[in-house]
């Protein structure tokens, strides 16, 4: 057993937050064109889909599960949106329908995981392909781009001269809801307990399965919302929208110090992780760092995110150990 009490691990989520601040400061002062409103709004706008998905993903990972089908669900919701729009339905009807589809996708994942007791990693790798495939059947090779401009402007525009995209405001509301639910309500407590020891949580009267089911449903809903936002933000609904986004989301969440084994992590850390990657990529692009090198940087950051806290702790322990060794003599 690890010496838990010996040295409290340096809190990685705080460290990521600090790193984000440092990176922002450096970028503002050293990177040409980083600080102006247009660029910042680009940065935020392009990072928003990942940030939106990171909210439920963090909760899922804390509860010991994962959903890799989020990007496909987003793609499906976008595809349905495109198909229905082409069919002449009004956008005010389409959006709720898309959200409902997200709920259904989440429900399917949730039922497979909770009722059949299947590992979520396996299930959602399967549904990842299935949902994407359905999206392909629904929309085929079409790319729908002619959504009403008021909606497009909302998804892509920003508040007057500021750097804040309109869509950032609803995101802040969702973030607040998520933070409070995870960190200040009995539900959040239950999720942490579930992730750390599901059996013990069940014995403590926590409705583990129900919580997880709802969590998957919420994830599906958020994924659908992200899909709608994506289609409007990029003014393009295609079946392959947001392909591969799940890996970015998982990477950002893990970078933010959320433990994949469940039971540990904070939303603050996860969101800091999301924006750390987003800011880093934006700054590097402005500095003309090639896409390939950016990938390497992302990878190194990920490795460091898990290695650094352990190395730091080992150093701390070693220092304490030297102190102890001074007192006694080794045989």
């Amino acid at each position: 057993m690890a010496d838990i009490s010996a040295h409290r691990a340096i809190r990685w989520d705080t460290a990521v937050g600090g790193l984000l601040v440092v990176l922002l400061l450096l970028s503002f002062s050293l990177v040409d064109g980083f600080g102006n409103a247009l660029n910042l709004s680009f940065l935020i706008g392009n990072t928003l889909p990942i940030a939106l998905l990171a909210l439920p993903m963090t909760m899922l990972v804390v509860a010991g599960e994962i959903d890799l089908s989020v990007a496909s669900t987003a793609g499906l919701s976008g595809a349905v949106m495109g198909a229905l729009w082409n069919a002449g339905m009004s956008i005010e009807t389409i959006i709720p329908v898309c959200l409902l589809i997200g709920v259904v996708c989440g429900l399917v994942n949730g039922l497979l995981v909770t009722r059949l007791g299947l590992p979520s990693l396996a299930v959602t790798i399967g549904t990842m392909a299935a949902y994407r495939g359905i999206a392909q059947i629904v929309l085929g090779s079409d790319a729908v781009t002619d959504f009403p401009s008021s909606y497009l402007d909302f998804a892509a525009g920003k508040l007057g001269d500021t750097f804040i995209p309109y869509a950032f405001l609803p995101f802040l509301v969702l973030l607040a809801i998520a933070v409070v639910s995870l960190h200040a309500t009995p539900l959040g407590r239950a999720l942490f307990a579930t992730g750390a020891n599901e059996e013990a949580a069940r014995f403590a009267g926590i409705r583990v399965k129900r919580h997880k089911l709802w969590l998957f449903v919420a994830t599906g809903l958020m994924a659908a919302l992200t899909g709608i936002f994506w289609a409007l933000h990029y003014a393009s609904a295609r079946y392959d929208n947001a392909t591969g986004l799940e890996l970015s989301v998982v990477a950002a969440v893990l970078l933010g110090g959320v433990d994949f084994d469940g039971g540990k992590g904070t939303l603050g850390g996860a969101i800091a992780g999301v924006f750390l990657l987003g800011t880093g990529q934006n700054a590097m692009s402005l500095l003309n760092v090639s896409a390939q090198s950016q990938i390497v940087v992302t990878g190194v950051l990920l490795v460091l995110s898990v290695l650094a806290p352990r190395v730091a702790r080992r150093f701390a322990v070693a220092r304490a150990g030297r102190g102890a060794a001074g007192r006694t003599s080794e045989p």
Partner: protein, 335 residues
């Protein structure tokens, strides 16, 4: 509520984006920065095209730069590169769009910020760029591939198409023209039995080819209008009992296909010269940035040793007819 119909009605006539007049005599500016934004960096085809652009820009005394996503389906990545280039205030960008709609907002923003936008290879919606430099008219490409396979088959037998992604705009346009061409009486003994999609992925294209041949054992020929697909299909055919028996043609680069032409898997295929496509894009971009053209139909400009070009419908400039490669001439091309 807001429906497609109501939006279409309110949109009215197409807006013309250029207010200013073209001045064909305006001096060609030097020291401009033109950025190439391919669908994917590190993609050999785009690298050849971009290199062509670089060479042309060098001749024009302007600066070349290349940037782009690492993945041909990372549309959001490409959007953020458009944003970055806008941010860096380049004078013009030459974009090969991953998606006709997704780049629009960003490209319009770029144009509002004074950046001239040329699309090449893959177009966006027409209002989101100044000029599209087409590798050859879609019609010519589509029809000529059918002609090629027809000749190889003696105008007889079942054929199939192995395309890239189902969403690939170029391929889809070409396929439409292929089907149209096939309606001509000349091809009455040929039948298109299936269109398959290999997603520009080697393995997938491989298996799709296998599937085509299993499903249609009498298949006589395959048209493959994508460089990745034709390569995979050729590799499969050359290692199978179908080598030489099933004809394969389509779009490919001479380097990729040399081996298969040599060993008899492929008789002839075609492609435009991507380096010329890049060079024409560069010339177009500089002409736009210098004010020689604005993108209106009928405007004419010279593009160095490529000759003179006229802007056609929808602000499209066409490179010209594709080159057909076969055992006789392939040795002369190195790209």
């Amino acid at each position: 509520g807001t429906t497609k119909k109501s939006v279409d009605e309110s949109a009215g006539g197409g807006a013309d984006n250029s207010a200013s007049e073209a001045d064909p005599k305006a001096p060609l500016k030097k020291g401009l920065t033109v950025a190439f934004l391919p669908k994917q960096v590190n993609n050999p085809y785009f690298t050849v095209a971009d290199k062509g652009g670089e060479k042309a820009l060098g001749g024009l005394g302007s600066k070349y730069k290349e940037t782009g996503p690492n993945n041909a389906t990372d549309t959001s990545g490409q959007v953020s590169y458009v944003n970055t280039l806008t941010q860096q205030q380049v004078d013009a960008m030459a974009v090969s769009a991953q998606d006709p709609g997704a780049l629009c907002t960003a490209l319009k923003q770029a144009m509002r910020n004074g950046v001239k936008v040329v699309t090449f290879d893959s177009d966006t919606n027409t209002e989101c760029r100044d000029v599209f430099v087409s590798q050859a008219s879609a019609e010519a490409l589509g029809r000529s591939q059918v002609r090629l396979i027809g000749k190889q088959l003696g105008y007889k037998g079942d054929i199939a198409i192995l395309s890239a992604a189902q969403t690939a705009t170029n391929q889809n346009t070409w396929i439409t023209y292929m089907k149209d061409e096939l309606k001509k009486p000349k091809y009455k003994n040929m039948k298109l039995v299936k269109t398959a999609y290999g997603n520009d992925d080697a393995q997938m294209s491989f298996q799709q080819t296998q599937g085509l041949l299993q499903e249609h054992p009498d298949l006589a020929g395959v048209i493959c209008p994508t460089t990745v697909g034709i390569k995979a299909a050729a590799q499969y055919l050359s290692g199978s009992k179908y080598r030489g028996k099933v004809k394969l043609t389509g779009l490919g680069t001479p380097n990729d296909m040399r081996q298969y032409v040599k060993n008899g898997t492929v008789e002839a295929f075609e492609l435009w010269d991507p380096a010329k496509l890049g060079a024409l894009s560069a010339h177009t971009a500089v002409a736009l940035a210098s004010g020689r053209i604005t993108g209106k139909k009928g405007e004419t400009f010279t593009a160095g040793d490529l000759g003179s070009f006229t802007i056609g419908d929808d602000s499209v400039v066409s490179l010209g007819d594709p080159t057909v490669f076969d055992a006789k001439n392939i040795g002369r091309y190195k790209f």
